[in-house]
């Protein structure tokens, strides 16, 4: 009998701050968990630093108010505030009631609260710069790696972390070396209607690949179809979040400690220009220093650049690993557009995994459209509390007709388009000159303005969503509004990889160009945005980076 490592596990390894460990991994999310597993399985001593607490399965709740409105497990605008502005001529201000950039602040990071849509990038994603560039006002460049180099690691994600799906069902899928280890989850009414409408239009919807168990897999149960994936932790452990998958496996090596409630605010450096460890606050806001031979930052696309910029030294006054000036720049969110639609009979979208059907017919950018941009669609549900906040145009916001609208909740679904965002140099994360967080650490300032092509593409996606829902037989369609982005949860591109140290932050092995024993791996590494579901790519990059970093360590090249 295999022992599930999530409960009553053998006593976990701990290190003292007097010990110099081989690696510190900052962040325990999609990439940090995998990095910890790969490095510790390679025989290295590892300490994972996580800002937030460690939650057990029974700590997660189906509480939409707490998780979607009160920062229950995400960075809070009260304790972790940020500011936002459109361009550098403006003074950045705090946004009322929320942060522009949102991520989960618990062990498992955003892999704990994601929707679990696991889309691979396609071959074109890695070479769009040479195929479609240049684009005025953007920095569309090729990745320093290809799909073929990443494919084995995509497969590793699917089998090691756990992804359900139906290989070969989409004519637009990139090639793959193995099928999914689990069959797809059962379709729900939104998936059936989405498929019906799309097929009528000659499109090719197919079962959604999801990082959710559809059968018992790796000692974790199948999904119980509770309906609350995005924004929530999965208390049954069916969602393939790092906290249930790779982190227990890292700890099982006896070489890895996950240190929760530990907020890293600066990377230590010596006179030789090498990282020496990390400075952090513990749960009681007491400062410590953990020494290490190397540091791997997997803190997400917002916290990674923040940490580098807050780690400036006299010899690196613009921030660590920032000789290119690219740290924090090229921030991408994944711009999207869609429609909500009402049908004759109840769908009950609050039941079942959030997504069951997707399509990639419009994945590639087509110059004939007159703008850059590509995307995918899914049929998607939303929780009732979130849904009830807004009404379609023409529906009263109060009174008997508003009440009638509330009564129609179970008849609605979303057709959501997820698309590209162009890398723009001026879209960036830097440090606010005045604002500090609850620990006294200088806070994030976001500067962002959509590239015009992103807005055109988002509007194009809305039109396609309306067509699909109309073909599906919707009685009422509420097209989404496309407005200027004011933040996001996909935090990409802010420490981009590249071969040229003058234009990128890390090389193709995730080593920073400037600091030999400092590595970065998360959404910040991505060179282009993909089409809206970045987590599988982030995890594939982490498996690949962990592989190479382990080799460097064995060869004494760190």
């Amino acid at each position: 009998m295999r022992r599930n490592p999530n409960s009553n596990a053998p006593r976990r390894k701990t290190y003292t701050t007097k010990e110099t460990v081989d690696f510190i991994v900052v962040g325990s999310g999609a990439s940090g968990g995998i990095m910890a597993r790969e490095l510790s399985r390679a025989g290295n001593s590892v300490v994972v630093m996580e800002q937030g607490p460690r939650m057990a399965p029974e700590d997660f709740e189906h509480d939409e108010l707490k998780y979607r409105n009160l920062s229950g497990i995400t960075n809070s605008p009260v304790t972790n505030p940020q500011t936002f502005r459109r361009d550098e001529s403006q003074k950045a201000e705090r946004v009322s009631g929320r942060n522009p950039l949102t991520y989960a602040r618990i062990v498992g990071g955003s892999s704990a609260h994601f929707n679990a849509n696991f889309w691979r990038l396609h071959e074109i994603d890695f070479i769009e710069g040479s195929k479609l560039g240049p684009i005025a006002g953007a920095s569309l460049v090729d990745w320093p790696i290809t799909y073929a180099e990443l494919e084995p690691y995509y497969t590793k994600v699917e089998w090691e972390v756990g992804v359900s799906g139906l290989a070969g069902s989409s004519p637009f899928d990139p090639w793959r070396s193995k099928p999914y280890p689990m069959p797809p989850l059962p379709v729900k009414s939104s998936g059936v209607l989405f498929e019906r409408g799309a097929r009528k239009l000659g499109l090719h919807p197919y079962p959604a690949p999801l990082a959710i168990n559809s059968i018992v897999y790796k000692d974790r149960p199948p999904c119980v179809q509770c309906g609350l994936c995005g924004g929530f932790g999965c208390e049954v452990m069916a969602k393939s979040s790092s906290v249930w998958t790779v982190i227990p496996e890292a700890e099982a090596t006896g070489k890895c400690e996950v240190r929760s409630d530990s907020y890293v605010y600066r990377i230590g450096m010596n006179a030789a220009g090498k990282a020496t460890g990390v400075h952090y606050f513990d749960k009681n806001k007491v400062e410590h220093f953990q020494p290490a031979r190397a540091v791997v930052v997997c803190a997400n696309g917002s916290e990674t650049p923040k940490l580098l910029l807050n780690s400036a030294t006299s010899s690196a006054p613009q921030g660590l690993a920032n000789s290119s000036g690219a740290v924090g720049r090229y921030l991408m969110f994944n711009k999207g557009g869609g429609a909500q639609a009402r049908f004759e009979q109840p769908l009950n979208e609050y039941k079942g995994a959030n997504v069951t059907r997707i399509l990639h017919d419009w994945y590639d950018s087509d110059p004939k459209r007159g703008f850059y941009g590509g995307g995918g669609f899914d049929a998607r549900s939303g929780g009732p509390l979130t849904w009830g906040q807004n009404v379609p145009e023409g529906t009263p916001t109060w009174g008997p007709r508003f009440k009638e609208y509330l009564e129609s909740y179970t008849y609605w679904m979303n057709c959501s388009g997820h698309g590209t965002s162009l890398a723009v140099e001026s879209n960036r994360i830097d440090i606010d000159p005045e604002l500090k967080d609850a620990w006294g650490v200088p806070a994030i300032r976001v500067t962002h303005k959509d590239h015009p092509d992103d807005l055109k593409h988002a509007n194009w996606l809305v039109q396609r969503a309306v067509e699909i829902m109309d073909a599906a037989g919707a009685k009422q369609i509420d097209p989404g509004e496309v407005g200027a982005s004011s933040g996001g949860v996909h935090l990409l591109g802010t420490a981009r990889m590249g071969n040229d140290p003058s234009t990128s932050v890390i090389d193709k092995y995730h080593r920073t160009h400037d600091v030999k024993n400092l590595f970065l791996c998360d959404g910040s590494s991505m060179v282009t945005s993909g089409r809206g579901q970045p987590t599988q790519t982030i995890e594939a990059l982490a498996f690949r980076a962990g592989d190479f970093i382990s080799r460097f360590a064995r060869a004494g090249e760190i």
């Binding site: 999914y180 009414s189 509390l385 109060w398 509330l406």
Partner: protein
């Protein structure tokens, strides 16, 4: 005889000690159901929750005015409205805990709302809540673009749909209005349209395959 339903924590602890995968498949729906039932009851203490059934933030007079507005936003009738779902207790709880920062502006807005109403309509210090429904409705149309109305509306919707532990959605009446059943796990078919789904039909030229 029905099987006894262990506590949520007992269920969760058991997950780590499972003897077989089959055990999970056989037992999980029951586990999850019991777990969530307990979870609704026990969580949220740090956010002002747990059976909030008395006013602790608003005065009785303030609450009467706010409840009157809320019950125009989601009126009662054949199906429950804001008053039936005891939304006022959610609003009171929220403004005294997780939305306490909004309380000063809310109070100022309420004062302006009632004073303006009185200035225009009161002949004998009659309050908004004591006015006729027609008069209330007419006044709310005049106020519906104000930040105060937006705040009451948002709180009303949240109070209608958030878990009962926060004070509103009494006896899940808000969920009943929306057609949402209180359960933790579901099995297909989920809705009308997936009942007769014939299965995924592959496209010409594709060869779906599984492990």
């Amino acid at each position: 005889m029905d099987k006894p339903i262990p506590s949520r924590r007992q269920f969760m602890a058991a997950i780590g000690e499972l003897a077989s995968a089959g055990w999970i498949a056989m037992n999980w729906p029951q586990i999850a159901f019991a777990a969530e039932k307990a979870g609704h009851d026990m969580k949220g203490m740090d956010m002002g929750g747990s059976s909030h059934t008395a006013l602790t933030t608003l005065t009785a007079a303030e609450a009467a005015e706010v409840e009157a507005i809320a019950n125009l936003i989601v009126p009662g009738g054949a199906k429950p409205g804001a008053k039936d779902a005891r939304v006022i207790y959610f609003i009171d709880n929220a403004l005294g805990s997780f939305f306490v920062g909004q309380l000063p502006a809310f109070r100022a807005g309420l004062t302006e709302f009632t004073n303006s109403f009185c200035t225009k309509f009161c002949t004998s210090n009659k309050s908004f809540s004591a006015a006729s429904e027609a008069m209330q409705t007419a006044w709310l149309h005049e106020e519906e673009k104000t930040p105060f109305f937006a705040a009451v509306r948002r709180l009303t919707v949240l109070g209608l749909i958030a878990l009962p532990k926060y004070g509103g959605n009494s006896e899940y009446k808000g969920w009943n209005l929306l057609g949402v059943e209180d359960n933790h796990s579901w099995a297909p078919p989920f809705g009308f349209y997936d009942i007769d789904y014939p299965g995924f039909e592959p496209y010409p030229g594709t060869k779906p395959y599984t492990a």
